[in-house]
């Protein structure tokens, strides 16, 4: 009786060893980086965590194909390293010595990736299933690009400024045309100020213009 039991157990163990080994068919490698994710709050990876992992995979398989009755014992882990990385396979509950096709496992894990990650407080980057690519979440895209809104605001301000300046310029121009005498007085004042500020002989200023040709000519004639 005992011998028979031992024989069955060893057969099962060997079968399991053959099913779960690195690069076996339908086996997946998992890599976990707990310290990177959690820093000081990192937990140690021990047999309990492995149990949880098996439970999560079984849960994922159950959710994916609702008729399947995957047990925790159907999930086999092997080659656990210090990195923390290991291989796992899911055996078929109905036929004991075969593994569930890799595509099914992949689809199941993809569907439940979020739940699995959260169970371990990890993310897609720190809990890696090496052959299963994760779908990256797209960035939030607002209906109107933000830059157009800011552009519109600035554009309106600038155009308003230009229109205001042009309109006030036109109004000032109209006022000037209506009162020519005041303009004359203003110009005389300007002349007076200029003449007061500068020694008058050297610069012949007339309404702000220097007749440079004459000044040049004078010098030339004097030197002769």
């Amino acid at each position: 009786m005992l011998r028979a039991l031992l024989l069955i157990l060893s057969v099962v163990a060997i079968a399991h060893a053959e099913l779960c080994k690195p690069d076996a068919q339908n086996a997946f490698k998992v890599r976990i980086s707990i310290k990177t994710a959690l820093g000081d709050n990192a937990y140690a990876w021990d047999a309990n965590e492995e149990y949880l992992f098996k439970a999560m995979v079984a849960f994922a398989m159950r959710r994916y194909s609702s008729k399947s009755a995957t047990q925790i014992s159907n999930v086999l882990l092997c080659n656990v390293t210090d990195r923390v990385s290991f291989w796992f396979v899911v055996t078929d509950s109905s036929k004991n010595v075969t593994t569930v096709p890799g595509s099914e496992v992949e689809a199941a894990i993809r569907m439940n990736r979020n739940r699995i990650n959260n169970a371990f407080l990890l993310s897609d980057k720190t809990l890696q299933f090496l052959k299963i690519t994760s779908t990256l979440s797209p960035p939030v895209d607002p209906p109107t690009p933000v830059w157009l809104i800011v552009f519109g605001v600035v554009l309106c301000l600038i155009v308003a400024g230009i229109v205001f300046l042009i309109v006030s310029g036109i109004q000032k121009h109209k006022k000037k045309n209506k009162e020519p005498t005041e303009r004359e007085n203003l110009e005389e004042k300007v002349e007076v100020t200029l003449e007061n500020g500068i020694p008058c002989e050297a610069l012949d200023l007339k309404a702000g213009h220097i007749n440079g040709v004459f000044a040049a000519d004078d010098d030339r004639f004097t030197s002769l």
Partner: protein, 549 residues
Amino acid sequence: MEKSRPLWDNPLQFVFACISYAVGLGNVWRFPYLCQMYGGGGFLIPYLIMLIAEGMPLLYLELAVGQRMRQGSIGAWKIISPYLCGVGVASVVVSFFLSMYYNVINAWAFWYLFHSFQDPLPWATCPLNSNRTGYEEECEKTSSTQYFWYRQTLNISPALEASGSVQWEQALCLTLAWLVVYLCILRGTASTGKVVYVTASLPYCVLIIYLIRGLTLHGAVNGLIYMFTPKLEQLSNPKTWISAATQIFFSLGLGFGSLIAFASYNEPSNNCQRHAIIVSLINSTTSIFASIVTFSIYGFKATFNYESCINKVILLLLNAFDLEEGSLTADNLNEMKDYLMATYPQEYAQLAPQIKNCSLEAELDTAVQGTGLAFIVYSEAIKNMEVPQLYSVLYFFMLLMLGIGSMLGNTAAILTPLTDSRVIASRFPKEVISGVVCFMNCIIGLIFTMEAGNYWFDIFNDYAATLSLLLIVLVETIAVCYIYGIRRFEKDLYTMIGCKPNWYWKIMWAFVSPLLIISLFIFYLTDYILTGTLQYQAWDATQDDSISG
């Protein structure tokens, strides 16, 4: 009755206008590059010598000519000698070329500024590819900041011949940039005088904020040490001196006619000698200040990249050999690499091509100038800071202020001769002339918003102004010293300011500066002739790197 010439409200506006014009993007993106290439702290020696030999004298000369003649560049040179009005026309044409392509930089600054109001910044991560399993391939091969610049901003084509279409987003930004310039120059000195208070002082506020932020960044000290260790052997390289002379020359914006235009709106008794010294000193000090900021940013970026590289190598080794997390650190990496190489020679040999040799010096050595520095390196550094949106907004706003300040000078150089000429000014008011000039420039500037626009931009940037300006300033100096006569010029300055220029100014004007310019001119001519077919750097989307074309 002729209208009296508009004047600056006070001398401070004039000084600010000159500072705003002279302190431009070149101080931020060209000087740090030159410093790095030509000997670090040692580059300051030729730089300061050239400042004294050609910078200050030529600046004083242009300001004095403008203030004395009280006309734009065409009118001023016509007064000096009727045969010389060609010099004025040449200045206007060069200014026109510059304003055509320079405002595109402001358009790019607007684009980045508007995109800074998002979280996360759009250049921080690569966009996803079509089936959302990974990132865009082009972006993966380079970095997200380069992808944002080359693909999403410029949408660059592979070669100059493949012009592509006008990018409507860039065209919009360019139109906005020209509207802003129009708003500032609309009323002539009345509006420009108020705007330059902002465009001259704001960049300094931002630079100070960045200095404080930059110096407190992790790894900034590496960049500063790298910059300031003088490599004095570079002083024997003639290129160092030529670059110093060229940088001073172009940084002050001589020969465009802008300085003459600004000075023509001065009171005749304005002390332009003092202002010339102040402006040139502030310009050079700003260059040095900006390069301190740039090098702390470089140091931060290089350290960040170096540490990322080391972390990648560590992760690669951890994953390949299934070692425990935390067993490999930056400190024991080299010993562990030797140990692994000895214990698992075969697997290590397989991995070897992927293991990069991370070097901090190699990261610091990547010298970048121009738009690459301003838009790629800085945005890469900004995305890694805390509250990146704030720093991004500040930085691109500063670039905008610098660019608009220089544009004000350029447009003043074009508009002052136009408004001085009685033929045009009597028929059209100032606003219409400014509007027409801005509109024409905007339409022509649409070339630079096409897919191949950046290549056109590089061509214009490198070749549009260099030789012409050297020639213009050479003729200017010779005209004032020898045709107009240095004694007459002395007398004019005495009447205006009240003191005669001393022997330093006279020697520089009459001998040193013209000789320097002639040697620069000869150097550049021979350089162009010897180079033969000119080359440009193209962006290869398949390899995602620049290739020469």
